[in-house]
Amino acid sequence: MSPLAAVLAVVGLVAVTTVVGLVWKARTGRVTTRGRDDAEIVTPADVGADGSFGEKATLLQFSTEFCAYCPATRRLLGGLADRTEGVEHVDVDLTHSPELAQRFNVLQTPTTLLLDGRGAVRARIGGAPRPAELEASLAEILNTPGDDRVAA
């Protein structure tokens, strides 16, 4: 290959990689919501959590030891749970429990599941959550508890 063609090939690789990076950046941390009637129910025992889940909602975080964004996510979710009544933050380290990763189909960390008061999975966030979207999603869950009560 001529030197010019080789350099152009590398420029092409840079361009493709940049597109991949932009797509990743645009998608990471976004909230995916689920319907509240067909949601899977999660219990503290399912994830080996010592504590209990929140009365109104739970921020269930999955982490590993090799995850640069997990400590920051831990503080973001912990802070939100601390200042919101009835909401708990539970962090599950998957480093030593791949079967949990399988069960909840966790492909990246941090992955956060937003559970309502019943433990039903109402939303999912892959990557470091975006604070505004996270809070909006939690507010939505708190306003529509998932039982027979209909939100105002």
Binding site: A68, Y69, R75, Q108, T109
Partner: protein, 162 residues
């Protein structure tokens, strides 16, 4: 996305998170040069440069990114000119990324002895990871650790490649 707020796990020495991204930038440039060398037919030069890059990954994976020469270069040349980091980061995730880089480039070095094209393929794969890490803050440990565990390529708990 908000600026990530990174702090090390309790009991670990935190590092400046910009250090590994600076190192990944140098690695990406070296890998790009390596791809060009391989493509123009300078196969021995491409192979030798990939050996050098693999040895640097080995250094990072074994000694940890805090003791890597690029980390020292960052602290000596760049860090004094920058504002202090907002947060410190646990060195385990970037050290894991060094191990992944070592495996990819190591395979390229070994297989490249018989198949020179593998040198270019390995350099291109490692380039994609290093570029994403440096430019976008992509965290290899976040994205592929669980995939490798679930694929059975990492024994659970040990963190070592099987």
């Amino acid at each position: 996305m908000s600026q990530p707020d990174l702090r090390p796990l309790p009991g670990t020495q935190g590092i400046d998170p910009r250090g590994p991204r600076f190192s990944a930038g140098i690695t990406a440039v070296l890998l790009a040069v390596d791809i060009v060398l391989g493509l123009v037919g300078l196969q021995l030069a491409a192979w030798i440069l990939l050996v050098v890059i693999a040895v640097l990954f080995l250094w990072g994976a074994v000694a940890g990114v805090q003791r890597h020469p690029y980390g020292a270069l960052y602290r000596a040349a760049l860090r004094p000119r920058l504002a202090p980091p907002a947060e410190l980061e646990d060195p385990a995730p970037p050290t894991f990324a060094q191990l992944v880089g070592l495996i990819i480039t190591g395979l390229g070095v070994v297989l490249g002895i018989w198949f020179p094209v593998i040198v270019v393929v390995a350099a291109a794969l490692a380039f994609v990871a290093a570029f994403l890490n440096s430019v976008f803050g992509y965290c290899l440990g976040c994205q592929i650790y669980l995939l490798l565990v679930r694929a059975g390529l990492i024994r659970r708990g040990t963190g070592a490649a099987a």
